[in-house]
Amino acid sequence: MAVAKALSVREEVVKERLGLTSNYAVAYAVKAVDVDVIAAYPITPQTTIIEKLAEFVANGEIDAEYIPVESEHSALSAVVGAAAAGARVFTATSAQGLEFMHEVLYITSGLRLPVVMAVPGRALSAPISIHGDYQDIMSARDAGWIMLIASSAQEVYDSIIMAYRIAEDGRVLLPVMVAYDGFLMSHTTEPVEIYHEEYVRKFTPRNLNRYRLDPRSPITIGVITSPDWYYEIKYQAIKALKDSKGIIKEVHEEFNKSFGTNYDIIEKYMLDDADYVLITYGGASSGNAKEAAKRARERGLRAGVLRIRLFRPFPTDEVVNAIKDAKAIAVIDRALSPGNTYEGPVFNDVVSALYSRGVDKPVISVVHGISQRTMLVDDFYNLYKMLDEYAKTGEYPRKTIFMGLRGGEE
């Protein structure tokens, strides 16, 4: 019954099924939510988003001001200004561009402005690499943004729509970043069902009832604080980010109801009875891990995948509950946290989540797909085999495994 109902919702809301890259899916979502101000600067692999948006604006398909800024720093600064004036805004970037925005990332969340940004992830210089991974995304993880990591073009489209609803919620008022794989998603054409705009707009009503620049009631935004005040104002934003999890769940539920989808802040794949779990994020890691789980199950291993979709705030209880019955777990990071005990950034999050809830499980840290180093389904299948062997011997590696590294790690 539930399925039949979902299907009929789908039939009603879906306007057409298109072949889109994740980047184009972003542009279509931004169009659907009736954005007011777009400011962006070209950078690979983000550029095709803003090319598509520029095309929409040029053809009058979006009534928005498109600011072709002279840098990423100005891109985020301009949307901060526009959001402070009450507009619904969008920007996008990758890699060096996100680094160049870094200063303003913190300001955006500190000023509690509902900015939405898309980031197809990419390796950071030096050496320069235009290829995809998540090092740029991870460098932004402490900036106080809500961070969603999508795994398909459809999910990217849906996430951008949800992002506006979340960001502008009066209980949240925080910027939202929608991240996904550079190239492996940003430039991969997949089917995307786009919605009739009336449904999207109904789902994302404007909220002008927030602090904004208005001569009728002049307020000051962007103050300087002494040690007497900074801590309290910062804590408000930290608390808002933590509390946003419940509201994000609420928005997911309502989105699922309105659009006949099935999103949650984490995705569980063959997880219920899994002994061995790969924890992943993004499209390539999770897609290949799912294929590998199927392969492993065919060969008698109870394999499952846990995909982290909401990365900040980190879904601590959800993650712990999802893996608490597993025998062994591997966290696959497409990013690096050099100099840490383990170099996988999300590994550290997972371990800290388990520890905080008193769950002691063998977890191994795996780094893979750096600068889009080829990841094969077989690599992920081999990880299940490795977990099985570790579980049998009781011996676990006490350092990060750098998969696919010529020469191997030491």
Partner: protein, 105 residues
């Protein structure tokens, strides 16, 4: 004010009351105070124009000088905020403003 917690403050460090900096009594910074000689003052508005604070008040307060000249306006110092820079005294074309040492207490 300092006892307010994070629960009491508007989000984002926004200040919602325009111009509430007037609660900063910068007059305490002064070592010398300007004193206007209302009889010598020619109401030229120059001190008012150049005051950085602004701490020179242009009041619709009639005044008759000792020599019988009538004015509609009176210029007075807002001693709560005047920092005592002395620009007014320096720029006054008729030297109607004197800088006088602040006395303790």
């Amino acid at each position: 004010m300092k006892q307010l917690t994070w629960k009491d403050l508007p989000i984002g460090g926004v200040v919602t009351e325009p111009g509430n900096a007037r609660k900063n009594l910068t007059g305490t910074w002064r070592t010398e105070r300007p004193v206007i000689d209302q009889d010598a003052c020619i109401r030229c508005r120059i001190c008012w124009m150049y005051c950085p604070e602004p701490a020179i008040l242009e009041l619709k307060k009639p005044y008759v000088t000792k020599t019988g000249k009538k004015y509609d306006l009176t210029y007075e110092i807002d001693y709560d905020h005047c920092k005592g820079c002395g620009i007014c005294a320096h720029e006054c074309p008729v030297k109607a403003i004197k800088m006088v040492p602040e006395v303790a207490g």
